[in-house]
Symmetry: C2
Subunit: 457 residues, 2 copies
């Protein structure tokens, strides 16, 4: 073990970021604007304010202000679980016998189990500031819903979560965490909304979908006084809040004079990757420093590597604004055999533009290989990783093995977004050898592409 770099780097309170960084301010090619699905015109603030909190609408639309002060109340909440450690993976390096130096930023040391809490607390704060009664959202496996329920409990906000019915029934533990934090968790589709009742009437036995849950959450927020809808990924505001991950990472690396060669993160909607890379990309955009940045996505849901860069619906219910992004089409149905998150059909507009400008790379990996990497990581580094995070682990390990061949001592940094304590059904199938891989055929993808809206922008 090297003497100068500690196993874990924790920032001092005085070294913690006090502002979020907005990558868009330094982008020459700005991400395309959200469009009104009716008029196909860019969404105006007043159109968005019925759905989102006023301050969050401002953040969403602002692509010129580089820094936003983090409100004091959020900084106070951060103290519960931040700074997160930047860990030097000494044990993994030894097990791989690689000259590479591997670092990971571990965001799982909080009860929500992931980085999602960083944006949940910000969104809950602005809702509270606006004097709202509460917020609504949807959740699939429950990571985002858990984070939001914790944030709402802290600020005394009502929290209504529409949870995809099959998850509600099959993953009761996440549901109970949310309920312990006081959230009202409703299986979706439900009888409480028009869209839910309509879907139930048409498909009485349906187990729900994320698209339907989004539609119910939006309807609930827009039809109840004092409520707004919040979302845990994809949006530019979420990437802004998540920039705290990258800012802490950079401060920790700078403290020890470490310059990363490679920055790797898993990417579903893009909130983690967008947050992790933010200040590094800022340097890259300003021409101060170059880094290789790799987005890792599942081969079963390959929006960057096999998607189209086009305007699309953000939800399958088609109630949300259109966003320009790398997408598989909102009608793309991810494989049911895929474990964990990263199943979103599209990618953050910010990351999509950066990818289109060749400022980041993307690779896709198959899930059994991902779980092999997860198992190796757990046994050497101690932490049981979330399946999502394990996509980044897999590629970090691959890159470290390339270093072994070339003898290069590259600095590899990856985001360990969360823990896998609620993903043990997936680990069980891996342990039993029954896990399978799935790669959609071109014909499978064609179905999703066929549903893309016609937008000439």
């Amino acid at each position: 073990m090297e003497k100068n770099i500690p196993y874990k780097i924790y920032l001092e309170e005085s070294e913690m970021p006090k502002q979020w960084y907005n990558m868009r301010a330094d982008m020459k090619n700005k991400p395309a604007p959200l469009l009104n699905p009716g008029t196909l015109e860019p969404m105006k603030a007043e159109e968005l304010q019925g759905v989102f909190c006023d301050e969050l609408v401002k953040q969403e639309l602002d692509d010129t202000t580089p820094y936003f002060d983090i409100p004091q109340e959020i900084l106070e909440f951060y103290k519960m679980y931040r700074p997160s450690p930047l860990v030097r993976a000494y044990c993994l390096e030894k097990a791989l016998d690689t000259p590479a130096h591997i670092y990971y930023k571990f965001e799982g040391n909080n009860t929500s189990g992931s980085h999602k809490l960083n944006s949940a607390i910000a969104q809950a704060y602005y809702a509270k500031q606006q004097g709202l009664k509460g917020v609504t959202t949807e959740t699939g496996a429950g990571q985002w819903g858990t984070a939001l329920s914790m944030a709402c409990a802290y600020f005394g906000l009502d929290c209504k979560v529409y949870m995809v019915k099959c998850s509600y029934e099959q993953k009761p533990f996440r549901r109970e965490v949310m309920r312990t934090y006081g959230a009202n968790v409703t299986p979706s589709p439900s009888e409480t909304t028009n869209v839910g009742r309509k879907i139930l009437a048409e498909h009485p036995g349906t187990t729900g979908s994320l698209g339907c849950a989004i539609s119910e959450a939006v309807e609930d927020a827009t039809t109840h006084e004092g409520y707004r809808y919040v979302l845990g990924s994809v949006l530019s505001q979420v990437l802004l809040h998540q920039s705290v991950i990258g800012l802490e990472t950079k401060a920790a690396l700078d403290k020890y004079g470490i310059v990363p060669d490679l920055i790797i993160g898993c990417a579903g909607g893009g909130s983690n990757l967008g947050g992790l890379i933010a200040p590094f990309m800022g340097q890259k955009l300003r021409g101060e420093q170059d880094y290789r940045i790799i987005a890792v996505e599942p081969a079963s849901c390959p929006s960057l590597t096999r998607g189209k860069y086009a305007y699309d619906f953000c939800d399958t219910g088609m109630v949300c604004p259109l966003a320009k992004m790398y997408t598989l089409g909102s009608g793309f149905i991810p494989s049911p055999n895929h474990a964990g998150g990263l199943r979103y059909h599209g990618m953050s507009s910010v990351l999509s533009q950066l990818y289109d400008d060749k400022l980041i790379e993307a690779v896709s990996v198959e899930q059994t290989a991902v779980f092999e990497a997860a198992e190796k990581f757990a046994r050497t580094e101690g932490i049981l990783p979330a399946p999502e995070s394990s996509h980044a682990i897999k590629v970090a390990m691959d890159e470290a093995m390339k270093c072994k061949e070339t003898g290069e001592a590259k600095n590899i940094v990856f985001g360990l977004t969360g823990t896998g304590y609620f993903d043990l059904v997936a680990y069980e199938s891996f342990n039993n050898g029954t896990m399978t891989d799935y790669i959609p055929t071109d014909d499978d993808l064609a179905v999703g592409f066929a549903g893309l809206p016609k937008v000439d922008r």
Copy 2:
């Protein structure tokens, strides 16, 4: 929030304990020795060495050496998850509106989810040093088995866990964590041991018991070359390893000049409480400083508050040495409605002697009140606590409310031993309002007492 005391106190690497502290060295009345169940004579080292590793036998029998150097390899492993934070519960204090200052030592920030890893890594280390192939153990809910499987994965040791069959079937997630770390997990009773086969022949439908699992693990260790049996609580060696909790806590408090008035810990077998209080009790035993120390146990399994101080079997299979302890009798059957651990019929010999000498107090609490405290803690401090740890939370909150009445700004320190991510069935019954309390009647206790062995010592 006060400016001088950080929300979380993390020790620097240079401030970390390098030695474990053995409370027994400073005890005037030593804990009574383990007895051979056949001869009723004190167990000799050579009798114990067939079951336990040589170095651990030395630690078990040594009641005079105050400090043991922590081996370098264990200090290296500690870096993965230690120091654990000492947290000032500012948010909980505010919610209770108490003048008390509440601190908790949080041991749950590792994949095993609890303090058990502190002894698991030590026991695995000594097994490796002795050149053994592996270790065997039993586990109920799986906290100890998980910790041990992580430690064995790190040292490349074989790990055989006999898991009580009903837990194996009803709590598959802990089982899968253990398997991910490479442990061989067998539902107990099993066909792999004589005692297992005997029990299965007599009771074909049995779902097992901890006593039976211990017997199988001991038989497996003693009948296979290169294996020894390891245990996660009760033993004096385990308290020695767990002293790292208290040593870190004391170093963190000393750093800020904080002197606790009250130290509170949950107590099942006693490993957490014994570790947390170790250096404080040392001062108390040497007459340097006085502290109030409170052991909290469940009303459903009240070994200190309602048990007898007597020699008893450590296991229901009666294959282990006899230990003098506060006990409900090895035949006592804890209520099936009780959530989480703390269900052991006896208490560590060290803590039992300290209690008999009136150096620690004990209280028992009922589980719905414990879960009310757990919910309040989760909502204010963010962490979803383990049911075991929540016993200590409940009493810390009660004591803080007494301070509110008297206006005293007492320093209350408690042990937050772990997280509740694998205890959500219990949280669900609390959330649904179906959780019930259970207090054994005197007649219930008489059954256990009737089975105490006759020992005139």
